[in-house]
Assembly symmetry: C2
Homo-oligomer: 189 residues x 2
């Protein structure tokens, strides 16, 4: 392994560990010192890769978004895209740490002075827009039940995914994908 | 004002301040020392009223639940009860601190070792049960659209309320009550 490969492996290890710890303790509850210790690094060793906590957080969030876009099938539209989102919910139930991270952070980051506030404001605007677009496509396919507003349906879908994650984190017998699938079927023509 | 009235007023003042600070910084982020300082009390002065942080949190949550039950109209059933819940969402948009508190805490408290974990597990079980019951009543009134499962509808309603709160906290132009009202109308016969 060359020096830069070793560097990349360390970076990946830090991101995975930080994801888990931010998910457990919240962004404010997990310190860089604790994250370094769990990674088997010194504090300066961690700072070499991520000079600030806010920068580390941004890298963690970006990595998760990239994975989500891969999972959702970037080219899919309409019914196919919405069915893919049901599968994303099913997949999420295998990554509890990341679900905890997003649930805790999205709530914490509603405070305007939180370092991830701008990220989450932009992310929700983008995601609500994307999901609404899938309902517009569903309508164009002739698959959307009459009287359903595609914009409202997109916003509701995002809210349902978020709310179901809280319920599932509190009680793992909650079937996130099943509830979303039933909701989608109730919106079809 | 007698001594016990003064005690009650101080208690109320602490609960209001603690609600706001737990909402801003999360349960883990707000210390008893900071809460005491913002109340104009010494640390021992606060401990006289609330000997532990977990006890203070429980009192804050209980007070909010009592207010919610008052707002929801404790005797209402079926469509009336669900319309009342739309009004609760409208009212919530006037109490940002409490919405922040519940959003942040319900996410933080999904961690099994969080002092409010048992409270939130029990609360969600109760609330999902109550809301599902209102959809059962809606069905008995002949107001529920055919093919809608009352249990799933109750769970979805809770998820929608939670998810919409996050969206509203990030962007106050989001109309929580309007989206819920549209969702309710889409479920009516």
């Amino acid at each position: 392994m060359g020096e830069s490969e070793r560097g990349n492996a360390t970076r990946e290890h830090i991101l995975t560990t930080a994801s888990a710890m931010f998910g457990e303790a919240g962004y404010r509850g997990a310190s860089l010192r604790d994250i370094a210790a769990r990674c088997g690094l010194t504090h300066p060793g961690l700072l070499y890769h991520f000079p600030t906590k806010a920068g580390l957080l941004e890298a963690v969030l970006q990595r998760r978004d990239e994975a989500d876009i891969r999972d959702a099938g970037p080219g899919a539209t309409g019914l196919e895209a919405l069915n893919n989102l049901v599968e994303v919910a099913r997949h999420n139930s295998k990554t509890r740490g990341l679900v905890e991270l997003f649930a805790t952070l999205s709530a914490e980051a509603t405070a305007p002075d939180h370092p991830a506030h701008a990220y989450f404001v932009a992310r929700y605007e983008r995601v609500v827009g994307e999901f609404s677009q899938h309902f517009v496509e569903l309508q164009a396919e002739g698959n959307l039940r009459e009287g359903v507003d595609p914009q409202a349906a997109g916003r509701q879908w995002v809210a349902l995914m978020d709310g179901l994650q809280i319920q599932w984190l509190l009680d793992e017998s909650v079937d996130m994908a099943g509830v979303l699938d039933a909701h989608l079927k109730s919106l079809l023509a």
